[in-house]
Amino acid sequence: MHSRPRAADGMVAPVLSLRGIVKTFPGVRALAGVQLDLFPGQVTALIGENGAGKSTIVKVLTGIYQPDEGHILVDGAQTHFPTAQAAGQAGVTAIHQETVLFDEMSVAENIFIGHAPRNRFGLIDRKAMQDRAASILHSIGADLNPAVKLRDLSIASRHLVAIARALSIDARVVIMDEPTAALSHKEIGELYELVEKLKAQGKAILFISHKFDEIFRIADRWTVFRDGQFVGEGLMTEVTEADLVRLMVGRSVDQIYPKRPAQIGQPALTVAGYCHPTEFEDINFTLHAGEILGFYGLIGAGRSEVMQSLFGITKPSRGACRIGDDVRVIRSTAQAVEAGIVYVPEDRGRQGAVKGLPIYQNVTLPSLARTSRAGFLRLAEEFSLAREYTQRLDLRAASLDQDVALLSGGNQQKVVIAKWLATKPRVIILDEPTKGIDIGSKAAVHDFMSELAAQGLAVIMVSSEIPEVVGMSDRVIVMREGRIVAEYQGDEMTPENLVRAAVGINGAAT
């Protein structure tokens, strides 16, 4: 399995190959001599934990980063991609997790921005642009009107526009970076069909995903990276899920949720009659020490909004909460932290770590009152606090003085969690704690949550992933359209019950 079957499956030569690619950032070796082969008419799945170097390799392939060492071979000939345009001309195109599109422009303009067909006066040939846009859209089975403004389209249709845009240059290599992350079940099915079409057209596809069911369904080959290193590659037919997981994490991961039975203690937080003019209404629940309380619901059910108001970001229009023995309304995040309620946000980029500040300063930010004396900083205390909590979370970083922006997403998440644990909170709210992070980190987060609850911390976990909710929670509250619609525990906590309550099917046991 570790031998590279380049000659074995024979006749087909790779369209594009990377050899010995090294890319270093200050303090971090993102890629340490990796290789990758992409074959015409085949889907290669690139698998690896967060921080394995997947995003970096995509940027090397699309000309955004220049490798420090190594070769890029197109049809066996060595080449360079000094700019994104050069990569485009070589036929490499990428569909990103969040492609930048322009709301006020038409579908056709979005598809051809930067390389619109010209007429003989050098001006944009609108007719040709519309026709070509229509034909590309048709070829991927998306019959959208090219003249429609983008803002009038659904999220899924926008995604198709992004794909059409990627294909509007005559692509030979299509990179799909977590293409299904924002899609519904039906749309994912359509995407699979699209991938089949692209394969039939002989395009080489690099498919990056965390979802194993997806990889086994559409990929022909696999390549695994770990910590910036190439670990192995091969054919999907010759590998099992367990093999891949072992290669990814370098150990075998128990897929079973590590929820340990914890001693459920006194009520830590009681929320009574919380209301908000637009987002939620009449929220009542009690959270106990040692408990993991799951919050399930569809996107937009108001779960994050409730949590953010408990954390003092938005003020409730009515209601109060009891924390331990104090009844109070939290009016600011500072008050929430004082009361022992902390929140790990879903939007890590914007609300999580303070990029630009070093790791240790991020960790101590809410604990400065404790590490300082009379308002004056004490760096030794800060480093020791940061060291303690980053080690507990198994953070991977070059030094504690390193800018947190240089860390991978999963490690930034660890810094945020370390920051909150260092405040010794009573209640920790985790909003989609494992969204978009790989299987190894996921297990680590789950294990850690379980440990926290066992130590008597009250945990709220907002999650849209049913196995996670069912596997980790002692009790689950389901929200729909800003209201609590159901609560389950024990044997009633089944996937079927949760989904029925979340979508509002009658007959769900309440």
Binding site: G27, V28, R29, D227, F311, I313, S332, T333, A334, A336, V337, E338, V342, Y343, P345, R350, Q351, G352, A353, V354, K355, G356, L357, Y360, Q361, L365, P366, L368, A369, S372, G375, F376, L377, F383, R387, T390, Q391, D394, L395, R396, A397, A398, S399, L400, D401, Q402, K419, T423
Partner: protein, 329 residues
């Protein structure tokens, strides 16, 4: 860099000393020394201690405000009304002086007016969430407008003799009172920004205000305090300038805001917020002071001088960026 299990993460990889050597501030220090040497060769009058002492008035008042402004800019805000705060403060003191107020009252009024103006700016920005650049462009016209209404073409003159100490007095030999205030302010703001929790929070807000708020920081309160401090320093600068000139006209300290911002930016403070240091601002103030003084000794006209200062600013800001672009290629 292999990662072992148990993962011990070192505190630092580069020592603070080696970092300081490669810093912006080190470059500024070299520039300041170079200008000093060039000036002393260009004019025989430059190295005279009394001339240098007189020349320090070129920057002391602006630099006092620049320290507070640096913190404001690091937090991601700006205050363009500082020159106008000085005008209004000076006018209030002038009016009180004609009503017979003594030096202590004048100083108290000066500080109070500065604080009130800062509080007004801070309220609009921190409480009502308005963008600071818009708010302070507004108050820039507002504060100075009040001075014009009160004074018209006139002026307040005849400040008490004791009041002259702030702008004209000497503490020891050639060391002026303003120079001492400048040094104390540099020390106080240096400690506040670099050695206290407050300063740390200012950096956090400047790098990502949303994440700072999500870390339990009272972002609005800190922003308000920063405007208050800028107002206070403008008040102190107004006391010094009024005392030095011995009179108040409504056009007093006009254009100060841009010179203050110039010192701040030259000092290496990112105009986008999030980084910068007080030592950089001190050095930038010295560089500006030395350049204007040197050019003055050579009888360079004021208009040419402003061209040179502008070119210097662009050159010092652009060169490191050009350098890093070229070395990346």
């Amino acid at each position: 860099m292999t990662t072992a299990t148990g993962r011990h993460i070192p505190d630092r990889l580069t020592s603070p000393a080696s970092r300081a050597l490669k810093s912006w501030e080190a470059l500024l220090l070299i520039v300041a020394i170079a200008i000093f040497i060039v000036n002393s060769m260009a004019s025989p009058y430059f190295l005279d201690p009394w001339n240098l002492s007189d020349a320090s008035f070129n920057f002391t008042e602006k630099a006092m405000i620049a320290f507070a402004m640096a913190m404001l800019v690091i937090s991601g805000e700006i205050d363009l009304s500082v020159g106008s705060i000085m005008a209004l403060t000076s006018t209030v003191m002038g009016a009180a002086m004609t009503a017979g107020a003594g030096t202590p009252t004048l100083v108290a009024l000066g500080l109070g007016t500065g604080l009130l103006c800062g509080a007004f700016n801070g309220l609009l920005v921190a409480r009502f969430g308005l963008p600071s650049i818009v708010v302070t462009i507004g108050t820039m016209s507002l504060f100075r407008g009040i001075s014009y209404i009160v004074l018209g073409d006139g002026a307040y003159t005849g400040y008490p003799a004791g009041f002259a100490w702030f702008g004209q007095g000497y503490v020891w030999w050639v060391i002026t009172v303003e120079l001492v205030i400048f040094a104390l302010a540099a020390l106080a703001f240096g400690i506040l920004l670099h050695r206290t929790n407050f300063g740390r929070m200012v950096y956090a807000i400047g790098n990502n205000a949303t994440a700072a708020r999500f870390s339990g920081i009272r972002v609005d309160r800190i922003r308000f305090i920063l405007f208050l401090l800028t107002g206070l320093m403008s008040g102190i600068a107004a006391i010094c300038l009024t005392s030095r000139l011995g009179s108040t006209r409504p056009s007093i300290a006009s254009g100060f805001e841009l010179e203050v911002v110039t010192i701040v930016v030259l000092g290496g403070v990112s105009i986008l917020g999030g980084s910068g240091s007080i030592i950089g601002v001190v050095l930038a103030a010295l560089v500006m002071g030395l350049v204007t003084f040197g050019l003055g000794l050579l009888n360079v006209p004021g208009i040419v001088m402003s061209i040179i200062v502008g070119a210097l600013l662009i050159a010092v800001i652009a060169l490191p960026r050009l350098w890093s672009m070229l070395s990346r290629k």
